[in-house]
Symmetry: C2
DNA sequence: CGATAATGCTATGCGATATAGCGATTAATG
DNA sequence: CATTAATCGCTATATCGCATAGCATTATCG
């Protein structure tokens, strides 16, 4: 520690600790693991949860649109939606004006369950990010958003 | 945007955009993809790269120790080290005092290659995080480090 | 009409992660 | 000292996230 302060950087070499990507991965993995642990009973995982949220926030949207919003591949949302369909969490309605697409919306059950799940996600994050103040958490969010939105 | 300012939060509901985990995933995925794209020719991926860096920073360390440092499972580093061994990037030396362990170090070739790779990683990050100032990048690093180190 | 594009989907592979277990070896403990 | 516990490197296996290629259907547009 003392050495580091005296010699902060060795001839332009970058340590793993100095790479943003490294910390991004560690933090993301920590968050994912925490999420899975928290929702193991519900069999709910981060990506499916985000799909559920996206449908809730954009009722009547399509799977392709959800993919664009969340940065998923169209191929990979199929099984997620299929499971939600089986579990009765979503409804798919064919569009009279375009027979290619299905309009997605939450079922009544999902609508009643989601708020509680969301609250638990927020509560979970507050625990996971307890080393950060509310302001730092907002800063983190804002910086991260700029990173991925700038990368597309 | 104007609406958001007027009505910042709807009855305690959290949107996906307000969840740190969501932005963490998006940013991490963006970074991972960028890394893979950048090092496709070398067949070098983020995790193996971090393993290489860790060995470089802790010469004479063991695979179990690397796993502890990087948060990997012992089972999952085996194939990574095996490939590095095949490619002549690392050397494994048995320890005379403990026949269970192998002391790991970079080969001469790896030692000559790694600095260039590291420089490219840094350069790559500077492009990817161009929307952030140097100070914001440090802030991001620091916040992320606190997140995952606080979670363990 | 013909070309192009979008949609939902199948199939497939890979990388990262997790768990369970094993033989060998060392450390710890009674 | 002898038994137990812990550690190490490793195999095997499973799941998830992500990517690519391709396909039939349907819309769109020149």
């Amino acid at each position: 520690m003392i050495q580091k302060a005296i010699e902060p950087d060795v001839a332009g070499e970058s340590r793993l600790e100095d790479l943003v990507g490294y910390h991004l991965r560690r933090a993301s993995v920590a968050d994912m693991n925490d999420f899975v642990r928290c929702f193991r009973a519900e069999g709910l995982r981060p990506i499916p949860f985000s799909v559920l949220c996206a449908i809730d926030e954009q009722p009547g949207t399509t799977s392709a649109e959800i993919c664009r919003i969340l940065g998923l591949q169209r191929a990979n949302i199929v099984s997620i939606l299929a499971e939600f369909d089986e579990r009765g969490l979503i409804e798919r309605h064919s569009d009279p004006n375009d027979q290619r697409i299905q309009r997605l919306s939450l079922s009544a059950e999902a609508k009643s369950l989601l708020p509680g799940w969301r609250a638990r996600v927020v509560e979970r994050e507050e625990k996971l990010f307890h080393t950060l103040t509310a302001g730092e958490r907002r800063t983190l969010c804002e910086l991260l958003a700029r990173v991925w939105k700038g990368a597309e």
